[in-house]
Point group: C2
Chain length 284, copies 2
Amino acid sequence: MATAPSIVRTVAELRRQVAAWRAAGERVAMVPTMGALHEGHLSLVRLGLIRADHVVASIFVNPAQFAPHEDFDAYPRGEGRDAELLGQAGCELIFAPDVAVMYPDGFSTRVLVDGVSGPLEGEKRPQFFGGVATVVAKLLNQCGPDVALFGEKDYQQLLVIKRMARDLDLPVEIVGGPTVREADGLAMSSRNAYLSAEERATAALVPIVMAEAVERLRAGLAIEAVEAEAAARLEAAGFGPVDYVQAHDGETMARLGPGPVGAGARLFVAAWLGKTRLIDNWAV
Amino acid sequence: MATAPSIVRTVAELRRQVAAWRAAGERVAMVPTMGALHEGHLSLVRLGLIRADHVVASIFVNPAQFAPHEDFDAYPRGEGRDAELLGQAGCELIFAPDVAVMYPDGFSTRVLVDGVSGPLEGEKRPQFFGGVATVVAKLLNQCGPDVALFGEKDYQQLLVIKRMARDLDLPVEIVGGPTVREADGLAMSSRNAYLSAEERATAALVPIVMAEAVERLRAGLAIEAVEAEAAARLEAAGFGPVDYVQAHDGETMARLGPGPVGAGARLFVAAWLGKTRLIDNWAV
């Protein structure tokens, strides 16, 4: 029977607990989150327990990765429920700092990752990956875990974080966890909570349309034709705008095409459904 | 009698030695350098030994902090002499990585510090502080020291590194060491080796002119008049161009003036003498 995790709000308390585990020769995993937890996050906690003796989860809705017009204020929050779910999954410690702990007066440092952050989300949300890289560098330095886990649902983010951790020599292993899906295939996301019942039914088309596009790519059809057809199908079903349906290299994020895909391709989608923006990706 | 320090060139070797010290409950200090060592660096090693049980020095001429027209190729290098001096000062371990260890293929992360990096060197050498913040973040993450020491001769750099370490929550204390001067007052600098005998004699005017300017500021004279007079005296003596003689706040680097200085002011100078650029600073 899992016990309720401790919740700490300062770096000193976080470090004290992690140091105690370290002193006992035990390994520590970290799962950074923005709360509003679902099975995707919890699967990362369970994955962390395979890699380490203890799992720390952070809950911090990071203002630096939202643009002014985005949904920072509306982003779902519910610490009590999150803590209960984390405890059930085996997480022992929650780090839930205030904004003033993370970004005190005078804060003025940015971590920027070029290359893998360029296309897709980097084009559509120009401040996003800088905000992510900066806050994740902070969280990893605050906690000092042996391993940190991030979902492949945000695949480009995972690549940016891996690149940042390697480039800055953070002494931590970055591990991606597979995307967890609803029964109808929709990728779990905190933002799914924004969908109306009707939109939720329509959203199930994303994995269907994209799975068929992946099959067409595997069959050797031209990338640009497959992308255009998938985007058109989503738009016809009521999605709009479709920010992108694009095949990129799964390591470098280089744009693929024209022509058929080679090895290591990945197909990415971002599309709006009403006021909700859904993203997802598949290995080709 | 000091023994010769070990020289390691990979992060794995560096971490292995530091981990062994850590496992014995011992504290580690780091002194990052670009080699070409002088008494200023060695004083930091001795200061490190007061704060910790072991001192690691790094020797790495960091290409990322030089602009294409600057003196990266000409920068003095001499590992054998540096190692001997470090050993005499009590340093036990030298980390001297190749460029390919620090910046392998695909490297694409930058650490940028706004605010304190803005004026003075930030204006004159736009790529400098980004290069410094990035390489120091890497070195500190590679070594994981308890304390790291930097000279106050590069005062603005010290502030940038303190800001970066605090903002990114690096688990290390950043300590500044006082500027070490030659008998005639010239601040020790690896770049003094560029000076001809005649230039070296002229260079001694910098501390004389600046000490008098500091006295005038303390006497309540207007900052802008004191700065202009000091710059004119340096130019009359053969310096040129004088990049700046400017008073700034010693914590925020805010530009001071017009009028008399308040508490916490610092006077900064950068001036060329032939092909050599000298910088220095004084508390007012």
